[in-house]
């Protein structure tokens, strides 16, 4: 029975992940074989010309995306960590309004946010800047980060914090020396997701950054598709490279999300 389920599970996963397989397959196919009929189901004769082209042309875009991702993580943590602490431990009542606001933020379409930012940035001269994109991308992660930190920090036993206060630590000191180290797993989880969302962002990049020289890789791929429809191996190779953070997250955050959930339940 169990073996039968495993077999079905493997087949279902295979069907689900077929597009991912196909992306890798195409990325390794020779340009000459790209329009073969029937298509090559397996790259028997793989080529790395797609990857060479991708790295040759998209390396600056990948670096830009990396920088934007890291900047977004920093900004998100800066805003969300103290807020999570305040909501979880300092202001337990009267947080309903903030909860409601954070849920409403989920309802705003990205295109509406993009128009708002565009209207502001055009005045401030922040269009086509990396800093502007970092600020815009952080709006994807901040609501999630605040809710996650709040849930996590609410689970930190009061005994530990009371002990710190008896030792004479103030609120800031307790936050820095007790709460932050204990929140490590949730910080890692938030960082990974904030990075991934900024890395994957297309709408803000295509609106706030569209005439810039320093474009992120998502826009790089989009322009690739527009300009260059013959070299699909290079496009798919860039897509594979752009998927690396997702693969990384899948392996790492699996563990940290689980750790975050179990650590939230305090045993006494």
């Amino acid at each position: 029975m169990s073996r039968w389920r495993t077999a079905v599970g493997v087949v279902l996963t295979g069907v689900m992940l077929f597009p991912v397989y196909w992306m890798v397959n195409v990325s390794l196919t020779r340009t000459g074989d790209m329009r073969a009929d029937p298509p090559h189901w397996f790259p028997w004769d793989p080529t790395f010309e797609g990857y060479a082209a991708a790295l040759g042309q998209q390396l600056p875009a990948l670096a830009t995306s990396l920088f934007i991702g890291l900047g977004t993580v920093a900004l998100t943590l800066l805003v969300a960590l103290p807020a999570g602490y305040a909501l979880a431990k300092l202001l337990p009542r009267g947080t309903g309004a903030i909860d409601f606001l954070l849920l409403v933020t989920q309802m705003i379409p990205a295109v509406v946010m993009a128009m708002g930012f565009y209207a502001i940035y055009i005045r401030l001269g922040m269009l086509n800047t990396v800093a502007g994109l970092i600020v815009a991308d952080s709006t994807l992660a901040v609501p999630f980060a605040v809710l996650l930190f709040r849930a996590f920090m609410a689970g930190i036993p009061r005994e530990i914090m009371a002990a710190a206060q008896i030792d004479g630590a103030g609120t800031w000191r307790t936050f820095r020396s007790v709460v932050l180290p204990l929140s490590r797993n949730s910080v890692i989880t938030v960082s990974l997701f904030a990075f991934l969302w900024a890395w994957s962002d297309f709408i803000f990049a295509s609106t706030l950054n569209r005439s810039s020289d320093t474009i992120p890789v998502t826009l790089g791929i989009f322009r690739y598709i527009g300009n260059n429809t013959t070299q699909w191996n290079a496009i798919m190779a860039t897509a594979v490279i752009a998927s690396v953070p997702a693969a990384f997250l899948l392996v790492l955050a699996q563990r940290y999300i689980a750790a975050g959930v179990t650590a939230g339940a305090v045993k006494d």
């Binding site: 597009p19 305040a86 295109v111 128009m115 930012f117 709006t139 989009f222 798919m236 006494d268």
Partner: protein, 318 residues
Amino acid sequence: MALIRTDAVATGGRPTAKVSPAPGRRPSGRWTALAFLAPLVVYLLVFYAYPLYRNIELSVHDYTPRAFVQGDPEFTGLDNYRAVLSDDAFLAALRNTALFTLVSIAFQYALGLALAVFFQRGFRLSAVLRAMFLVPWLLPLIVSASTWSWMLNSDNGIVNAFLRAFGIGQINWLTSPGTALLSVTVANIWLGIPFNLVILYAGLQNIPASLYEAAGLDGANAWQRFWRITFPLLRPVSAITLLLGLIYTLKVVDIIWIMTRGGPADASATLAIWSYREAFGTGQPDFSPAAAVGNLLILIAFAAGLLHVRMQRKEGIS
């Protein structure tokens, strides 16, 4: 010590996460709390409230690109909304939005639930396979969308090659008006399955195993167990999953824009695509109608949220 004791009592039996800590014993406590909260409040005001306000402002003025830079647009009240609502393209976009959203969330939910039930009973490799199902959710949308574009390519796509093997002629998935919306919907369903699977699977974990055991003793088969136990007990989780699915699907732009740009001839243009195209999709940005369409989208999402809250409340009473 007294503080620790009260907390220990308060914690007894309940998860600590729900316990309200004792706030502001000292008068300065409240100010400290506000100081910690200040970055978030400033952030929400500057980066959410202000863009939203700007958006409303855009929608009640006539912003030409020139007025946009100079900042002297003409106030037109609700004219933009009137123009949008009476536009022939509006009904078509509304219909496309409804089809795209409802078909997407129906299939995402049904398939996600079927998979969650399938994974409910662990088996060899089940944890690994379940994790693999997250991949479509984690990939950048541009990656998924361009992969689907190439798979659905009329001449060289794998989908048409597969169909050819069964004697089915070429289908122009992305370039014919009859199939463009269907194609982006299929891609979007694929993208949404992992999210539904994760939430519904977590919901299933909270259904006590003893219920299934009791039903098993009563001779209930798998089908009856699903409809009598799993489905009714999962209702609150299902409701929030569908609501979030609706909110997220209403605002989808990237996947459609990358695959079809709303075309051919508006065949796959939803309200969100319409808004995006007016504002950023052409050489001539037209922000005012775009903002009006965007605000209508927020209203629809908000209405769905209110409906959800009302239904929750009703259920709580009965």
